[in-house]
């Protein structure tokens, strides 16, 4: 980080140039330029090396898509895997069993728990406590650091029991799981989840006292929504609680545009930026939160609709409570009723004896799941040999980019003349961090038009 700081406070000229924003996933720069009190430049530049995933997918077998796209991102590996598996099933016309879907929801909650707690404690809390990272807190607040790591470890263990590992899950594939989670593992996980309730209460007490920056800017909040539950795994798309759009028609709802300073596209709805992620889900689906999560939001003072982007982190904490309680409920169901192994276990690829015998129809599969940072879309077209001819992945961070820049454009004039350049730089960093940007994901990049 090299904030180009000036000693002179309250200047009319401000230049914020954060090269390699820290405590985010991936490489991004923040550039703000104010001359004579006028904002001339305000960009969040994604400078991660391009990775060409959508080009890499072309000509690969649809059965490989989950393995490859999981590698787009280490943090969101389970989300990418599930979006990929659902899109693959949509293209192939495969329907997974109810037990499989139950386990997938559990994995998705586990990932939200894991990613949210990492963001809350390791990436955001240091700003609120005036330190540069969690490292100094190991000395000053060891019990809290240990608690954060324990919560992280629980959610990570969930990935391990369910999928073999959290980062690049092994057993979740098209049609089901390659292996049942072990009974011992499930029982241990259930116990750890119950233990996490205490850490959750403690965390709520800590965050209730922390002060987040004040800033209001209503925007368009997009997320999945479902009549049945607080949507993560399935649903239709809604904006600010309005009418529903089928996931299949996502391209009619929003458009993506190329900008030359960034390796990621800017997405808009009705030519205006929009937000995805915990705060959008919270605003659209507050009523569907479980009782404990609603109580947590009351305790934290978070009300829907909330228009302060800094409070995305608080919405994540409310979702932590929701996902923990939902996971405990699913675990109780599984431990009581068991799972039907015959309906869950499949092989990751067609068996050798079936190769050459399977008939594929050219088709396009589209799917969306809610991952920690927002709505994630995967789309694949396959040919008559089951190979991918065109792929598109729409990433939450890309969708948030335009909204973050709009926030920055509105925030800079509000603090200009009131804060020093250094303080403004920190404001901008915290704002970007509150979106929990995942830049590795965002540079998967653009559509592949395969000719």
């Amino acid at each position: 980080m090299t904030p180009n700081s000036s000693k002179q406070a309250y200047s009319k000229d401000v230049k914020v140039d954060v090269h390699y924003l820290t405590r985010v996933e991936g490489h991004g720069n923040i550039v703000v330029d104010v001359k004579d009190g006028r904002l001339t430049k305000c960009e969040f530049q994604v400078i991660e090396s391009p990775r060409f995933f959508e080009s890499m997918l072309v000509d690969r077998s649809i059965w490989e898509a989950q393995h490859i796209t999981s590698r787009i991102c280490g943090i969101c590996a389970c989300g990418h895997s599930l979006a990929s598996v659902k899109a693959g099933e949509d293209a192939l016309g495969i329907k997974p069993s109810e037990d499989t879907i139950l386990l997938r929801k559990l994995l998705l909650y586990a990932e939200a728990l894991d990613s949210h707690i990492l963001h809350i404690y390791v990436l955001v809390a240091p700003d609120l406590l005036g330190v540069k990272s969690i490292m100094p807190l190991i000395k000053t607040d060891k019990p809290i650091v240990e608690m954060a790591l324990r919560m992280k470890r629980m959610s990570d263990y969930a990935g391990e029991v369910l999928a073999g590992r959290h980062i690049h899950p092994i057993s979740f594939v098209i049609g089901g799981l390659t292996q049942m989670p072990s009974q011992d593992g499930l029982e241990k996980l259930y116990k750890l989840m119950l233990d996490s309730r205490k850490d959750t209460d403690e965390t709520l007490k800590i965050f209730k006292k922390l002060k987040f920056p004040e800033f209001q800017r209503p925007t368009q909040y997009m997320s999945l929504a479902s009549d049945e539950e607080y949507a993560f795994y399935d649903g239709d798309l809604v904006v600010n609680g309005g009418s529903k759009t089928r996931v299949r028609n996502y391209k009619q709802l929003f458009t993506e545009t190329v900008v030359d300073y960034s390796r990621a596209k800017i997405a808009t709805i009705n030519n205006k930026p929009y937000a995805v992620g915990a705060l959008s889900r919270f605003n659209n689906n507050f009523e569907k939160l479980n009782k404990k999560a609603k109580a947590a939001s009351a305790e934290l003072g978070l009300k829907a609709p909330c228009h302060n982007p800094y409070l995305n982190t608080v919405a994540q904490l409310v979702e932590w409570v929701h996902c923990l309680e939902e996971s405990i409920a699913i675990m109780e169901k599984i431990l009581k009723n068991g799972l039907d192994e015959k309906k869950v276990v499949v092989s990751s690829w067609p068996k050798r004896s079936q190769i050459g015998k399977i008939k594929y129809k050219p088709n396009t599969g589209i799917a969306c799941v809610e991952v920690p940072r927002g709505s994630l879309f995967h789309e694949y077209s396959i040919n008559e040999s089951g190979h991918i001819t065109q792929a598109n992945c729409v990433i939450p961070t890309n969708q948030n980019m335009g909204n973050l820049e709009e926030d920055m454009r509105q925030l800079v004039p509000l603090v200009l003349g009131k804060k020093t350049q250094e303080e403004i730089t920190l404001d901008m960093e915290m704002l970007a961090r509150s979106y929990d940007p995942c830049i590795s994901c965002s540079t998967h990049l653009l559509d592949v038009k395969f000719v």
Binding site: H67, A163, K351
Partner: protein
């Protein structure tokens, strides 16, 4: 007796998913123990402090741009020890699939008419550009192996990456052979060290740790042919992770 100074460690990521660094964060209490032995001075993903004085550099990701090349050379000048972390750094990983098609086509597929603005070169493992002292293979890295390697680094000993196939560990774990289950698997050709992680969870080996030095290519070829698979299918399996080695292995199959 005075304790010797703690070595300073830094983490740098290049082109990748950052999952291997996250494996460190997932160590939980072990990470706290590690910080008693090593000073972590630079870890952008979780820290704002950016120490430029370090002894050991963990390098995650592949080298895929001219900027990457310059950056890794600068790090090599400063670091006493370089550790390549994960498949992208050790064998170019899935990034290597990009090398299968001409770069211009890949750029055009992804960036359309903005293709010319994109800076990209062939995806390379770190050791193709600078000397690497330790290799931790795997996508993602396997924490017990990471800890073994760190012990070796602290003791100043080399860490020999296993040069026998995953099958050795898989047999010890008493897994039923994938071929017996009417499936295919790259275990017979892939370096061990992961404790046959993917097969333990019902999947097959995808070759993420790279190939053993003298793979029994003919043996594997016989197995696959016996089970009715075409050479092209086999080669496509290898290209998932081992494309930077593709030129070396393709001719052996042809």
């Amino acid at each position: 007796m005075r304790k010797p100074p703690k070595p300073k460690a830094a983490f740098f990521d290049f082109t990748d998913c950052e999952g291997c660094q996250l494996q460190f964060a997932n160590m939980g209490e072990t990470l706290l123990e590690l910080t008693e032995l090593v000073d972590i001075v630079n870890f952008r993903e979780i820290m704002s402090e950016a120490g430029e004085d370090y002894d050991v550099a963990f390098i995650e990701g592949s080298i895929t741009t001219d900027t990457d090349v310059k950056r890794i050379k600068r790090i090599r000048e400063k670091a006493k020890v370089i550790i390549a972390l994960g498949s992208c750094a050790t064998i170019a990983g899935v990034n290597g699939i990009k090398n299968r098609s001409p770069l211009d086509l890949a750029k055009q597929r992804v960036y359309g008419d903005k293709a010319d603005t994109v800076n990209t070169i062939k995806a390379m493992p770190v050791h193709e550009v600078v000397k690497v002292d330790y290799f931790i293979n795997g996508c993602p890295v396997y924490i017990p192996e990471v800890i073994s390697v760190i012990k070796c680094v602290l003791m100043g000993k080399p860490y020999p990456v296993p040069n026998y196939p995953v099958c050795v560990e898989c047999k010890m774990n008493e897994n039923v052979c994938r071929y017996e289950k009417d499936q295919e698997c790259l275990g017979p050709l892939t370096r061990a060290g992961c404790n046959s992680w993917c097969v333990n969870y019902g999947n097959k080996c995808y070759g993420c740790r790279g190939l053993v030095e003298n793979p029994a290519v003919n043996g594997q070829k016989d197995i696959l042919l016996k089970y009715g698979l075409k050479i092209e299918d086999i080669l496509n399996n290898f290209t998932l992770y081992n494309d930077s080695l593709g030129e070396k292995y393709d001719p052996e199959f042809k």
